[in-house]
């Protein structure tokens, strides 16, 4: 069984509920990005303190203050991104966005609520995320509480056109196109 759907099918997926793999990949990217930004911020603060006061500041992972600041930063990162655009950088990269359960734009208050209840889905070994797999609208626990849903937002039709354009350009530069490389647009 092929894991890759025909491109014609992808065209019709815009606005559909996003699946678990895309959402997990998006969250993983967000975790890396937010942690990197946090680490950079801590490094910048350490450098600033050393330049101004001459004292070295060392950040310890077990430091409760650092942990609290990190958690707060996570709330700010996700809450701000969802409130402003309905998507985090990771979600934008994967082409998904958060909307209200009915499909309309997520209001900022609901976005903030979603970021506040987001940790609840991690409880009980992440059981809250099971809903993405088995719930008929692919909504996790925090989605159900905040009244939100995650949908595909990337323009697969434009991607298909780009793909076709690249394929059409191949013969123009003298490189023969391999047999069967072009997908059937009607499929």
């Amino acid at each position: 069984m092929s894991a890759r759907p025909a491109r014609g099918d992808l065209v019709s997926l815009q606005g559909h509920y996003a699946g678990a793999v895309t959402r997990f990949a998006g969250y993983s990217i967000d975790l890396v990005v937010s942690t990197a930004v946090f680490a950079l911020a801590l490094g910048a603060i350490s450098w600033g303190v050393r330049v101004i006061t001459g004292h070295d500041v060392s950040w310890n992972r077990s430091n409760i203050v650092v942990a609290i600041i990190f958690v707060l930063w996570q709330f700010v990162y996700f809450g701000y991104c969802w409130a402003v655009s309905g998507r985090t950088p990771g979600m934008a990269l994967l082409g998904i966005r958060v909307v209200r359960a009915d499909g309309t734009i997520l209001p900022p208050k609901q976005a903030v609520l979603r970021s506040l209840v987001f940790p609840l889905s991690f409880l009980l070994f992440g059981l809250g995320f099971i809903g993405i797999l088995v719930q008929h609208e692919h909504r996790a626990l925090h989605d159900l509480i905040a009244g939100s849903a995650v949908v595909y937002s990337w323009d697969a039709r434009a991607a298909q056109l780009r793909f076709l354009a690249r394929q059409a350009e191949v013969p123009a530069v003298g490189i023969p196109s391999p047999a069967g490389a072009r997908p059937d647009p009607a499929s």
Partner: protein, 176 residues
């Protein structure tokens, strides 16, 4: 009158007499004719007359080719001011009746890109390798989503089909 001789043509007298008779007669005849024509026109049922005319037979006797041969189309077109004609045409109601979305749906974009320079334009404006990589990543993730989703449904066997999208987005997709 002395020293003046008056010569009268005897025909002039006759002409004058006949003019006095014929002028009123002519006026009378004119009035009578107008009256008769008016009476005839009023008595005629033009609709019935038109109904009796066999236009097909009439047109069958007309040699249209011969007429068209006599028409100088170039000269005719030279006399037509197309700009003025188009200026009088209100295109908006015509365009309102055209379903552009339906027209666009009928376009084979693949063939269009293949046969025109549109492909080069799109390719040059799509960010090159970065866009290609992003499309590949997203397509792969969507494919895996579908794969996982199919297996989950196979296991839990939902009694009713799951909705594909939130209601507002479904409605938006359904609109032409």
């Amino acid at each position: 009158m002395p020293g003046h001789t008056k010569c009268v043509n005897p025909r002039d007298r006759l002409r004058a007499v006949s003019r006095r008779v014929t002028d009123p007669a002519e006026v009378l005849a004119q009035e009578a004719t107008e009256r008769v024509v008016e009476l005839v026109v009023n008595a005629l049922d033009v609709n019935e007359l038109a109904a009796r005319i066999d236009l097909n037979a009439l047109l069958g006797r007309v040699d249209v080719d011969a007429i068209l041969k006599k028409v100088d189309v170039d000269a005719l077109l030279d006399r037509v001011d197309l700009n003025a004609l188009l200026a009088r045409v209100d295109l908006k109601p015509i365009l309102d009746r055209v379903d552009v979305n339906e027209v666009v749906q009928q376009i084979d974009m693949g063939a269009l890109i293949e046969k025109t320079d549109l492909g080069a334009v799109i390719a040059s404006s799509s960010g090159g390798m970065a866009a290609e990589a992003l499309d590949a990543v997203r397509s792969g993730a969507v494919g895996l989503d579908g794969f996982v989703d199919r297996w989950v449904r196979r296991v839990i066997r939902p009694k009713q089909p799951w909705p594909a999208a939130p209601p507002a987005l479904l409605a938006a997709q359904a609109e032409p």
